[in-house]
Amino acid sequence: MADIRTSVQHDTEIDLKALVGGDKRSWDTFCARYAPTIHAAVRRAFGIGRPSQDDLLDAGQEVFLKLCRDDYKLLREFDPKRAKLATWIGIIAYSTTVDWLRRRKPTANIDDVPEAALAVDPVEREKLQIPDGLLSQRQALVLKLIYDREMDVPEIAKLLNVEQQTVRSTHHKALIRLREHFNPAGG
């Protein structure tokens, strides 16, 4: 199957006004410009498995359908002053594919499932009283990215649009606050 190289200029201006007005040429340009973004987001939503080409195509088609459905209702909501179209398209494509995968997930007949599999384990939640202001939102996010997502500092700095040293500093300050809260005696 032939592939479209992403030779389309990344700074290609899309005339959104003409596009949502039904201009075929603007739509075609939009498709060429953002098909790679949509395809990449769709592929990522499928996870680490090896989805079939047909599944990838169907999911990608669902994204384009969502964008032009109801007279481009979704695209009309986009505000180019607030974000880049490519970033927004990536979010829409990923979330649409996640929803699409969830809808097509086969559901088992409850009568065919062994009773043991339906048993619900008692949830044991640790009752912690952590003040809401203990960590700043950014501190909590940095810790999550480091320890849950196992991202390295350069990756996090890029995601947060900050210097790497800022990430290290945020990480360190967050740990100090947690230690003071959980080990007040220094134990």
């Binding site: 075609d28 740990l175 947690l178 959980f182």
Partner: protein, 163 residues
């Protein structure tokens, strides 16, 4: 107490903190998340988005996927582009094209009805006019013969005036 942390202690502290779920938050829209990813969020929005990202794994994965996808150089299958382009039909666009023909196209139905109406009016008026003229001509042609049968040249009203 030193300010240094070994990885095990740091991870344990995060586990303790991560067990705490913050109170319900206002959902973050796609545009707000995009603004944050592009570094265009103000301080209040950034704090709200970062709080949501720390609490919501799905939202965090969405953000990471969008960032990666927007920078991707991966090729898209040609069939995807073909399908996408086919979603907007040229026929729909035809009526919206510019120029004189495009504008005439938008008024075409109205013009058609106006032309039909005008033709009907012309035919009806012409017919009425022709019908009226013929009647007058017949009357004019018949009148002298009637009077001559009576042996007079004057109109009948004058003839019976004295009776």
């Amino acid at each position: 107490m030193t300010d240094e942390f070994n990885p095990a202690e740091a991870r344990r502290l995060w586990r303790l903190a991560a067990a705490h779920k913050p109170a319900a938050m206002r959902p973050v829209s796609a545009l707000e998340l995009a603004a944050w990813l592009d570094g265009k969020a103000d301080a209040a929005l950034a704090a709200r988005v970062e709080q949501a990202l720390a609490a919501d794994d799905t939202l965090l994965e969405t953000a990471l996927a969008a960032r990666a996808a927007s920078e991707s150089e991966e090729a898209a299958p040609e069939r995807l582009l073909v399908r996408a382009r086919a979603m907007v039909a040229p026929a729909v666009v035809a009526s919206k094209r510019g120029g004189l023909m495009g504008q005439l196209g938008a008024w075409r139905r109205g013009l058609e009805w106006a032309a039909v109406g005008a033709c009907f009016l012309i035919v009806a008026t012409g017919g009425f006019w022709m019908g009226g003229s013929l009647s007058d001509n017949v009357a004019e042609a018949a009148q002298p013969a009637t009077y001559s049968l009576l042996g007079i040249d004057e109109e009948p009203a004058d003839l019976f005036e004295g009776i």
